[in-house]
Amino acid sequence: MDRLDELRGPVPPRPHDARAIAALAANPGCARRAVLDAAGIDKDATATHLGFPAPFGQSPFAITRGNVFEALVKESGCAELLRLLREILGLPIPLASYTDLGDVGGNPSAHLRHSHTRRLLDRAARDGDDAGTLYDHPLLRLDIAGHTSYLEPDVVAFRLGGRFHIVEIKSFSVIDGQAEPDKVAAAARQAAVYVLALRDTLEELGHDPARVSHDVVLVCPENFANRPAATLVDVRRELAVLRRQLARMTRVGAIVDALEPGLTFDLVPDAGGAPTRPVADLREAVRGVGARYAPDCLSTCDLCFFCRDEAASEGSTDLLGRQVRDALGGVATVAEALGLADGSLIPDEGQEEIARLLRLADRMYAEVS
């Protein structure tokens, strides 16, 4: 895939973390995103250089809170976590042990750490005994469009009766059995990435991948205290979406082949890493791959402000969201829809119905407002 390297320029591909991989599924129809992600391009740096920095930031308070909660859950060899797992997975009390897979000594490479994880997981999968074991700090691996991403979870795998569970620790609160739905959804998408990576690992080792449960254990603080509580979350749907998107990314080759030869998103960094590529030039390059902007991009993709601006300059109805676009029967631009509405535009074939509706709406709007 040297064409992908060429697209990226002389910088190492940006490793995907689970959050980024989960986000790949957010706008599956977008070729621009598929190409940039497959090539491991730093979209944030690209957006910033284009003059449209991404609007994402994380508050230091949120980061601290997350770290504190994770530390609490993992304190003294994950004592608290083991207690929760016993409860939720129905494990007899004395049976549970803890293995730290991060304990490799020295400062090993990701590759070494991953091999260590593999070795211990392999042994665990062969082991017939039924005792629960917690594997902290596993380093998993997932191949995305030919690039290897190492996934360093704050997540642990738990084996019980031959089955593995992914455990995901999140610091948003569950209050009276309810949490913010977007946060639960995001956690499920991320956990699905780990499930997939762990299944791949087992499969490579010759074990049945189905031994990784699609029920992940989500650990969150309960009510207003810091006390953790665990819930099982079924991530089958998220897994299916993720698989589809990853398969798509391996097919990104077709899109890449169709790109103009010589096209690159290289920022041409100077010795200090600062981009020197002329902005207009980069803009042309990015525009060379079709996008499919939707307002959801505003919370999922670093390029959102750039793509929104582009959609606005094209007068695209995508700008207004799917609901509006659906109500407009898919008419692509504002000018076209307004033209159909005031009758100055003759509807194309297949547009008669929406044109009639728009004309009627236009007439009514004038009549009553």
Binding site: S59, F61, I175, V324
Partner: protein
């Protein structure tokens, strides 16, 4: 979304200015609403950081928690908020009116009720959480709080529950109230940003709505309306200020946190009152007063519950309660939708486009038409209406009409642009239709398959929608032994 609302958004894009979605105001607006803007510490479920509140645009009250992780300071904040909110609420309980009812005892209802306006949906959710975290607190014992705190918690819970009730105006989210009346040239997602929504609706002089909305996305110009704060502000301004306070606990350090959050709240405070002003400039729709009556009755009932020493609202609905509540909410929603359509031709137009409603001219009328013989004879005036609307109604469908509320008609048949219908209710009980009850030839009429039959129980104390006195008392809250610790507002 209706094609009409979609078209309004297109026009907004084209003209750069927001477009009207309503010709009248569909929510009650109090003469003295209380604006409340809560801020929360990022990463925490319900740790308040600050709030700006008050009923006078010129005199906002600023509440600050200089160290949001400190439990005592958080409850001090709650007590301070109670000092603002409770006198407002209690003042409105004083004046009552006697409501006579047919076949039942007359009852007393407050002539006005509290109206709290927050910036957005997330703020409504935060009010609910704040209510949840304070209403079970106790004024004595190990984790004692100020006695006003649990009372505040119950009122916040009351307000948050009312906010779920279609058509209630006790707790309004400004973004939702504004979006109900104006369409912008951006997506619904972006409309959730109050500053950008207001940019479209009421841009500063010399700017288009589109430009103002874009500018409003810069958190340095327009800080977010909360409850979440801008992460950049958190790391550059707030974190150092809180750290300084945590180290010194000095008044100066507390004031520094106060000034920091004030800078974030003041722009939103001004926006909120601009929104209130714009809503107030719209004439109230006819159904608004009746819906507000429901809010007043609910308020009266809840105040009585509280005075009688009733328990705090339970943590969860029972399963049966939840199911019947859902059904009631659905009917209330249908009713609210119908009322808005009957009150507002622009809303009705949305229903005409989908074919559930139509307007037209009466071509023929047979006001004396009757069905049946002798004692079974029923007056059923017939009308034929010519319309160019794309009517999609089946024979037998029940129709209402904005011109004659309370009247009901039934579709007899539809051929081409002609709709024949018979009036089945609301034309008097005599042998002939009462004068004026049957439209005359040439009259413009509108009929819609929207029913507004659901009457909220106006007389009963309904904390959300449920009259507790009818549904039986809610499950008593039994505090668990370890609860104070578990419930610690950490």
């Amino acid at each position: 979304m209706s094609t009409l609302a979609a078209l309004a958004r297109l026009r907004a894009v084209h003209t750069g200015a927001a477009q009207r979605l309503a010709t009248v105001r569909h929510c009650h607006l109090s003469e003295r609403p209380m604006v409340l803007i809560p801020l929360r510490l990022a990463g925490e479920a319900a740790a308040p950081l600050a709030a700006m509140a008050g009923t006078d645009p010129a005199r906002p009250r600023l509440l600050v928690v200089p160290q949001p992780r400190d439990r005592d300071l958080r409850f001090a904040f709650a007590a301070e908020l109670a000092e603002i909110l409770l006198p407002y609420i209690e003042g409105l309980q004083k004046a009552t009116e006697t409501v006579e009812r047919r076949g039942a005892e007359p009852f007393e209802r407050c002539v006005d009720a509290p109206q709290v306006i927050v910036p957005n949906r997330s703020a409504v959710a935060f009010v609910q959480l704040l209510g949840r975290s304070t209403r079970f607190r106790r004024a004595e014992g190990e984790y004692a709080v100020h006695p006003s705190v649990p009372v505040l918690g119950r009122w916040l819970t009351f307000l948050a529950q009312r906010a779920q009730y279609p058509g209630s105006a006790s707790l309004l989210a400004a973004t939702e109230a504004m979006s109900l009346h104006w369409a912008t040239g951006q997506s619904a997602l972006e409309d959730a940003n109050l500053a950008s929504l207001m940019g479209w609706i009421d841009p500063p002089p010399g700017m288009t709505g589109a430009e103002a909305a874009r500018e409003a996305e810069d958190p340095l110009v327009w800080p977010p309306a909360g409850p979440a704060t801008d992460p950049g502000f958190d790391s550059e301004v707030l974190a150092p200020a809180i750290r300084a306070y945590a180290e010194t606990r000095s008044d100066r350090a507390a004031a520094r946190v106060g000034e920091a959050v004030r800078s974030q709240l003041e722009p939103t405070w001004r926006l909120m009152w601009r929104a209130v002003g714009l809503l107030g400039a719209l004439p109230a729709g006819p159904g608004v007063a009746a819906r507000w009556e429901g809010d007043r009755a609910s308020f009266t009932g809840f105040a009585a519950q509280l005075a009688e020493g009733g328990p705090p609202q339970p943590k969860r609905d029972g399963a049966v309660g939840a199911a019947s509540r859902l059904a009631r909410m659905e009917r209330a929603q249908a009713s609210y939708d119908a009322q808005r359509a009957y009150d507002d031709p622009l809303v009705m137009a949305g229903h005409r486009l989908t074919g559930e409603a139509f307007t037209g001219t009466v071509l023929a009328a047979d006001p004396d038409h009757a069905e049946g013989e002798g004692r079974g004879r029923k007056l059923r005036p017939l009308l034929t209406v010519r319309t160019s609307d794309p009517v999609r109604l089946a024979a037998g469908t029940r129709l209402g009409t904005p011109e004659r509320r309370g009247q009901q008609a039934e579709v007899v048949e539809i051929t081409g642009g002609h709709v024949t219908l018979k009036i089945v209710k609301g034309m008097g009980r005599g042998r002939t239709a009462s004068p004026g009850s049957v439209p005359e030839v040439g009259e413009r009429v509108c009929y819609a398959a929207l029913t507004d039959e659901y009457q909220p129980p106006a007389s009963l104390p309904a904390p959300e929608d449920t009259p507790w006195t009818h549904g039986g008392p809610p499950p008593e809250h039994v505090p668990a032994v370890e609860e104070p610790d578990e419930e610690e507002w950490a």
